[in-house]
Amino acid sequence: MSSIRSLIVLLALTGSAASEAVGAQAAISAAPADFAGMWLPDAHRAQSWPDSLPLAPAALKFMQGFDPEASDPTTFCMPLGTPRNMLQTAYPLEIVQTPERLLMIVQPNLANAEVRRIALDGRGLPASPEPSWFGTSSGHWDGKTLVIETVGMRADAIVSENGLPHSTDLHVIEQLRIVEDAERGKVLIDDIELHDPQAYLEPIKTRRYYSWAPDARPADPTCVDAMWTRKLWLDRLQEHAAAAKKKGGSK
């Protein structure tokens, strides 16, 4: 099979007028799986957290005292961050695939669209990644499954809306694969493992399902728009009204 695939790639790449687009397509086709396109999270099949999470004392204390108004970054239009952007079930996931990289795009808030860039060139993970919201990712193929490892996530990001925390040592391992479901058609499955000895006594595992939705388009979310509208229109109009009243009263 691999030799036939190589032949096809060779055929696609030879010829004086070979198109780069054809070459790219052939290379993607030659990849063990093609994830490119729009996927909708299946909220009904999302695995719930177990009743008792294996939390270290500090993580347990943080979660018990968690106040979303004060400590959930999304309250302040900050990103979900990785892996929360994969665990959420409200926004579509768009995957862009090239031979060298996989991009995963989630748009919960247009001012901070979340783009995960997953290197597929075998570069591995950095020893001391700079903490970021989306982390530093590297992927490798295990048959038709793409194994994605991510490190370097900011500790002020949380994993879930009920305040499951993580430390900067968080190491996320995902196994991404496509299955053909008799009822649902093409389904993307993401098995997610969270390894963080500082926060968890043992790795936490969960799974998310996504339905193939080639015609879906992400919307413009409204997180900052609401604040801006209030500031631009309501607050300013109130100021103008107050100024007009004062002017009228001074006459």
């Binding site: 695939q97 901070n112 783009v115 970021s132």
Partner: protein, 243 residues
Amino acid sequence: MSRPLAMLACALIGTGLVACSRTTEQEPARPDFSGVWFPDAKASGRWPGERPFTPAMVAAREEWNRTYTPIDLTRDDENISCIPYTLPHVMTTIPQYPFEIVVTPQRIYQLTEVFGQVRRIDLGPEEHGDQLPTRMGVSHGHWEGDELVVETTHILPLYAGHREPSSPALRLVERFRLVPDGPSGKELHVAITVIDPVVYREPFTINMVFNAAPPGVEVGEYICGQDLWDQHMDGSTSKIPWR
């Protein structure tokens, strides 16, 4: 690829071993816009200082000025409030930030560092359907020789750049062209024609130049409002406008 070779490849693909792209029987090689690009402030054009406003737009600007001036730029600037750009400002604003172009056979992606915005240019057949307007609108590209011609509609008429909104009739025609040996080396030239008969009496064109980033430069993670979140986490919430 020669036609017989393409047909042979497609026949093999037809066995189900791999997917056959509808782009397999292809036109000639196209310029590859993929990579990281920086706006060239010196070489790029600007919005015309005297724009050809329609009478309706002149009246609307006067009304806006009566209602909202004087402008306080410490609070009345969209970008300070993390409101991202709409088209065509995504292309014509010259920040210090780069953007990245990722080319796939069906779609070209433009990923901006500032605001982390994502623009999509579809290369397939035009299927607008019932699209709601968005900041990036709906873009379709087709090739005319070595130029990628991109037409965009359905742009959200929200952004008051230059203190003037666009209308729902706004249409952009952009011509993307690769210049391998420009004055700054490899350059991407984009001629942007702005067509909005509600706002402007006639179309005008802005010529933008983007320089290829040196090898190894990547688009970074830009989070608008990060400083305010950091202040909040430090306990200095009084500095945060909305708290």
